[in-house]
């Protein structure tokens, strides 16, 4: 027994900011002080507050240390672990209330959250099946196999009103039912862990922090639909997730929680991993299955749907990681518990990867129906440097922008659709006043153009041409006709593309056109980018009256675009200027402006 546990985040974010080194240093310092029998160090999954990493929590006190450096470790061990004195200077500021130390759950970041799928993330050692079991892990599978018929399981999931968390929001129970109804000798259960939206890392966090929840859930799904084999399709770019999944699968096999005759029920189920090479389109269900079966990862037209003809042409159930992570909780706590959370048509919680211009970038899980304002201003801690909120982007490259007018709309599947965005997998990028919406549309479109599989014409060529028009506009060569042409092309691509990737590719353009058409027009008519992002439209100018002729700007200009005599006002040659902005940063007299 350990009197104290130190949980150190071993998620991807904290790992890259050095949590591995911190763990080894912790052990070293603990051993020096002979505490190794009393204090245990546990590497966990993501805590959520990624911007503050590396993060650690010391229990039983629950002291939350953020941005911990290796050099801080000796102090923490000596003071906190040995002597019981919390090292206040390293505590997460929000947990400090004067002299009082608040629990983490009382901070703004956590208090509004409701953790169902992330409940074990940051709390258990994901490489220990025992710790998962200690949190009632595999109890749901035991209950399902012992007391429920496949029909009962499907009914329970249907009653919960759980909808697919991968983006589309299709009712999960209905999907299970359809696959269960397909008659075939062989069926498969697949897990979509090919998270590809830029900035989204919900699924990665679950796999890194609580891999067994997905494994348990897939076994439950296998039982419900009549499949004995599962595949997890995970990106090779998620090495930590892959490693922990492999460990978890091996542990589950050793405990007989995967394999033959699980819980003496006669039910057999096993899972294999398949690593994806990171093509965005492989998140599309038919492309994913094509890739698992060793073929080029490309979508095919539906129907037939995977429930009828999926992996290796067999009926296949595919859910994403976050969807699966909900299942054991629904089984254990009941459908009515689950559907008491959320809005009328969207039940439960949603995990968002909060990014962009926001103080607390990281991972948050909130009940459906939480408003964007709550997420941005309360949980996310608002926008840095006192800047103003301009818009938030949800749904990644398939989604759209939510402007300030809609900041108080409760977020759920249907509301987001109605305002021209979509839930997507849960990326939420906050943009402030310095963001150019045309540039944002371009950013997402560049992504889609890169990631198009190239099978159908609208996506392969259409998005490319769309991007070319956007480039024309942001470089100051656009015409008002280009905007119309672009809009027409958008609607064409939406309704003509083969798969969801193409059908949603124009959304970032359409939604910015809808909410920020004036910005497009400004770029075209006045050749002006108000946010000052589109370099081609920028002009740097030296205000004669303010310039002291100190030559600092001229000496720092990388292309020698600034000239002038010492002590005399300088001048910028706008033909030479590459708009890097260094002169403006260097000027001590605020004599340089951009417009």
């Amino acid at each position: 027994m350990y009197r104290s546990n130190i949980l150190v985040c071993g998620g991807t974010g904290c790992t890259s900011s050095g949590s591995e080194k911190i763990i080894s240093k912790l052990w070293k310092e603990i051993k020096i002080r002979g505490l190794e029998q009393e204090v245990n160090v546990i590497k966990t999954g993501c805590f959520g507050l990624c911007s503050l990493g590396p993060i650690m929590i010391v229990y039983p006190e629950g002291s939350f240390y953020s941005m911990v450096q290796v050099d801080d470790i000796a102090e923490i061990v000596e003071e906190h672990l040995l002597k019981g004195r919390v090292v206040k200077r390293l505590l997460y500021k929000e947990t400090l209330d004067g002299e009082k130390i608040k629990s983490l759950n009382e901070t703004a970041f956590y208090s509004k959250q409701k953790r169902i799928v992330l409940k074990n993330c940051g709390l258990i050692n994901p490489e220990s099946i025992d710790e998962y079991i200690a949190m009632d892990g595999y109890c749901a599978l035991g209950r399902v196999l012992g007391k429920m018929s496949p029909r009962d399981v499907i009914e329970e999931i249907k009653m919960s009103d759980l909808r697919g968390r991968g983006g589309g929001g299709f009712p999960t129970g209905v999907k299970w039912e359809l696959t269960a109804k397909s008659e075939a000798e062989q069926k498969y259960v697949c897990c979509n862990a090919d998270e590809g939206d830029p900035g989204a890392f919900m699924d990665r966090a679950i796999l890194e922090g609580d891999p067994h929840s997905v494994i348990e859930s897939m076994a439950i799904a296998g039982y419900a639909i009549g499949a004995n084999k599962g595949f997890i399709y995970v990106r090779a770019e998620y090495p930590i997730a892959v490693k922990r999944l492999n460990i978890a699968i091996e542990q589950a096999r050793n405990y007989g929680l995967l394999g033959q005759d699980i819980f003496s029920s006669g039910f057999n189920f096993d899972i294999d991993l398949r690593l994806g090479a990171g093509a965005f389109v492989c998140g599309e269900e038919t492309a994913l299955m094509s890739s698992i079966s060793g073929k080029r990862g490309e979508p095919r037209p539906r129907p037939p749907y995977p429930a009828v003809k999926g992996l290796f042409d067999c009926p296949t159930l595919l859910n994403n990681v976050e969807t699966y992570a909900n299942i054991p909780q629904i089984i254990l706590k009941g459908a009515s518990w689950f559907n008491s959370i959320g809005t009328e048509k969207s039940k439960g919680t949603k995990v968002f990867a909060l990014g962009g211009k926001i103080n607390h970038t990281g991972l948050v899980e909130v009940p459906m129906g939480t408003t964007l304002r709550e997420i941005v201003e309360e949980i996310g801690g608002g926008i840095p440097n006192g800047k103003k909120f301009k818009a938030a982007q949800t749904g990644g490259p398939s989604g759209g922008c939510i402007s300030i007018e809609n900041i108080d709309i409760p977020i759920d599947y249907d509301n987001l659709l109605s305002i021209g965005s979509m839930m997507g997998s849960g990326g939420l990028i906050v943009m402030d006043q310095d963001t150019c919406m045309v540039d944002i549309a371009k950013f997402f479109l560049e992504f889609t153009v890169d990631e198009s599989c190239g099978k159908c014409v609208p996506c392969r060529i259409g998005t490319k041409r769309l991007l070319e028009i956007l480039n024309k506009i942001t470089s100051g060569n656009g015409t008002i006709e280009d905007i119309d042409k672009m809009e027409k092309l958008c609607y064409y691509i939406k309704s003509n593309s083969l798969c969801g990737l193409g059908q949603t590719a124009p959304n970032p353009v359409l939604s910015t056109l809808k909410c920020f058409r004036n910005e497009y027009e400004m770029h075209v008519n006045k050749k002006k980018c108000e946010a000052g992002v589109c370099k081609s439209l920028l002009r740097y100018e030296i205000i004669e009256g303010k310039c002291k002729g100190c030559t600092l700007c001229a000496r720092n200009c990388p292309v020698s675009a600034i000239s002038g005599f010492v002590g005399m006002p300088h001048e910028i040659d706008s033909d030479k200027c590459i708009k890097c902005g260094i002169c403006m940063q260097k000027c001590k007299f605020d004599a340089i402006i951009k417009h």
């Binding site: 009197r3 546990n5 949980l7 039983p60 019981g84 109890c139 035991g142 819980f263």
Partner: protein, 122 residues
């Protein structure tokens, strides 16, 4: 894994190791003075003994942690025991040999070991 009971056994065993993370307000708190004075007087051995005994006796609802110097260094090693919602009881000049009795009488059966508390001798 053959039965749910088997799973529950593993669960109960595993919970021992993660209980400390629950920060459960209903836990009985054992606080051991671990300032320089406490350590010098042998508080480390006392703490180790508490951990050993609690583990051996399979007691689940106890949190063992440290507390700071209380200003009366001559009483160290000092142990405070707090039942949820109750006043704390403070034991002084505790040695590892005394730990077992505190656990049996106080933590398990709820009877304060009066002769170890402060002021008993006075």
């Amino acid at each position: 894994m053959k039965t749910l009971e088997e799973l529950k056994k593993i669960r109960d065993e595993a919970r021992k190791n993660i209980n400390v993370r629950n920060n459960n307000p209903n836990d009985i708190k054992v606080l051991i003075g671990m300032a320089t004075c406490g350590i010098a007087a042998g508080a480390r051995q006392v703490m180790k003994e508490f951990i050993n005994q609690v583990d051996k006796k399979n007691i689940r609802n106890v949190t063992i942690t440290q507390t700071d110097c209380a200003g009366s260094c001559e009483y160290e090693p000092r142990v405070e025991i707090i039942f949820p919602g109750n006043e704390k009881a403070t034991y002084v000049n505790i040695t590892p040999e005394k730990v077992s009795r505190i656990i049996d009488e106080h933590i398990i059966n709820g009877n304060i070991v009066k002769e170890y508390t402060i002021g008993w001798n006075n």
